[in-house]
Amino acid sequence: MILRRARYELAARAGGPFLAALDDWRRRHRRRSARESPFAPPLESLRALKALMTTHYLSGRYADGAVPVAWVTSGFPVEPLRTLGFHTVYPENHGAMCGVQRIVPALSDAIEAEGYSRDLCSYVRADLGSLVTGRSPAGRLPRPDLLACCTNICQTVLYWYRDLARRFGVPLVLVDTPFVYGEATPHQLRYVEDQLEEAIAVAERVARRRLDRAALRETARLARDGSRLWGECLATAKARPAPWTGVDGFFHLAPIVALRGTEACNAYYRLLLDELRDRVARGVGGLRGEERHRLVWDNLPIWYATREIATLLASRGFNFVCTTYTNAWAEAAARIDPDDPVRSSADCYTHVLLNRDLPSKLALVAGLAREYGADGAVLHSDRSCKPYSIGQVDLKARLAGDLGIRTLLLEADHGDPRAWASELAANRLGAFMESFG
């Protein structure tokens, strides 16, 4: 046990092979000569990001038996688990890596053979397929001692995590967040709060220690500050030209998803923020050439084609300056109260974008477009994410009709490239760009 713990700590401090997804991204980036690339040179912070995330995944390999391990949905209120010393694994994050590496079809085939439908979310198929085949871009994920699932992003995670619980035979804590039409009622928030307390009790049993409530307040403070810092990083793209692209944000998002509530996460975003602000001060943009048009991206990234799409657009002077997806992790800052961490996180995690009605979403997209000075939007209609995608047809009509924002609905799947045809998409994006004149 002590030896295992030492190995985990060592891995957590030493560095190691580069994170697969980021590596891939870099490779694709380098494939073009600097002169050919439509993007500005990569951010210096990228190196620190790699080190941070590599360390996280590497330490994960030695987490089994050293520290308690929790597999967690991206929207789960993770602060109590963090405080209890859990090593957290985000299967969605792992699914994104599988998407970037285009291995989802192979993983999906394995799970379809067990009777899982191809119409299920590709994150689920990637994750379960990875378990069945043993293939993973992260080498291997540590076995969970606890599964923590919050339905504020979708109901899918509920079925997914129940499946994991059966496979691993470990406790599952569920936080069922009532969908918010208008505002959540007090009894709905109390229900979430009750479930959080119940989740804490289960997590305490698994971790074999009591939750230190003072330490939880500190974690909540770190999470709030991290979220705030992330928001400030994103907000630098309000400058013209934006110092980076929204696509950069998809990758720099990793710490706030996977390491939220840690000092390492916040330290990273301070570094990134400094660099972005420096770029703004020097007038350096995310695009190499002129930033002619500024776009909003809605929904999850199309992980396997993100670079392809961004490059196509960037080569004609179009930049994604903000995305509803990356923005979702900046929203928490306003609602977390470190002095009342459980109640405030019930409020915060219930009111996330994906758990709110469509007028809230329209207001968000319209607000982002206004604040970031965007004149266009690409709505990724994601076969694998119904809660994020239903309503986009009307959203498009309203953005275009009422607000004069040129909007493209682009159908794909965030992880499975089999529903994607590059040429058709390039045609659609090309026609979209031509419509700007």
């Binding site: 085939d109 053979a113 009777g115 590059s422």
Partner: protein, 254 residues
């Protein structure tokens, strides 16, 4: 030996009629591209086989037009292919039937009965008709396809499995100067992986049987062998297996 029963297989692309003798051997066979007026075509072909036999015989029909054959007992292709293949090989196991519109994986039990089956979903990628169209666009003949794919240095990955997407993907690969043999190999590999998914739960290393018109495409047989990791044996006269099975089900008991 004289004929004792007639089997009709009215498929989406071809129409097959066979007559069998008391030992279950095919003694007469007709195979034509399917005509829009199924009834008339079936009547003519059955008439030809029947007049060769010189007497009235019991008729069973299978295939998607099975209910449009008057006086015939209708049975599904699944049951008939299983019976036909079992009669030809005498063994249980996994049978893959790839026809014009459907692909089926059928598990045959020790008595030749169907234990389980799976069919492709609505999307037509992975079926004979789709292969025909796309190989036609690539100007690759059925006779030449096996050699072409076998000679490819590597399979060019084709990821789309939707018919429309796969077609556009293949065309863009050609435009992108990928080698034709590699594209053809990749295409067959992609379709074979779909078929292999249908054959789920059929564990084991035994030989897999294959029937249906696509079994005549050697590249598909090879791709299926690679995808399943098991030897694939084509049932003799693979296009007639369904009609044979139909005839067997109305043949007088021996």
């Amino acid at each position: 030996m004289s004929a004792v029963a007639i089997g009709v297989d009215v498929g989406s692309t071809t129409c097959k009629v066979v007559a069998i003798d008391a030992a279950g051997a095919i003694v007469a066979r007709r195979l034509e591209p399917a005509e829009p007026r199924i009834e008339r075509q079936v009547e003519r072909l059955v008439g030809e086989v029947r007049s060769a036999a010189g007497r009235d015989l019991p008729v069973a029909a299978t295939g998607y037009g099975r209910k449009r054959v008057p006086g015939a007992r209708a049975l599904t292709e699944i049951t008939c292919h299983a019976r036909g293949a079992f009669a030809r090989t005498g063994r249980p196991g996994l049978l893959v039937d790839m026809g014009g519109q459907d692909t089926k994986a059928i598990r045959i039990g020790p008595a030749g009965e169907v234990v389980d089956f799976a069919m492709n979903d609505k999307c037509a990628a992975g079926t004979g008709r789709f292969l025909e169209v796309i190989l036609g666009r690539l100007r690759v003949s059925l006779e030449g396809v096996a050699g072409l794919a076998a000679g490819a240095a590597r399979a060019v990955p084709v990821s789309s499995t939707c018919t429309v997407f796969a077609e556009s993907e293949v065309i863009s690969l050609v435009a992108g100067d990928e080698p034709l043999d590699g594209i053809v190999k990749g295409l067959h590999a992609a379709l074979a992986s779909r078929v292999a998914a249908l054959a789920r739960g059929a564990a084991g290393a035994d030989e897999v049987l294959m029937s249906g018109g696509v079994a005549l495409n050697g590249a598909m047989v090879a791709a299926l062998r690679d995808a399943l990791g098991r030897p694939v044996r084509v049932v003799p006269e693979p296009q007639l297996v369904g009609a044979l099975g139909a005839a067997l089900s109305v043949a007088p008991a021996r």
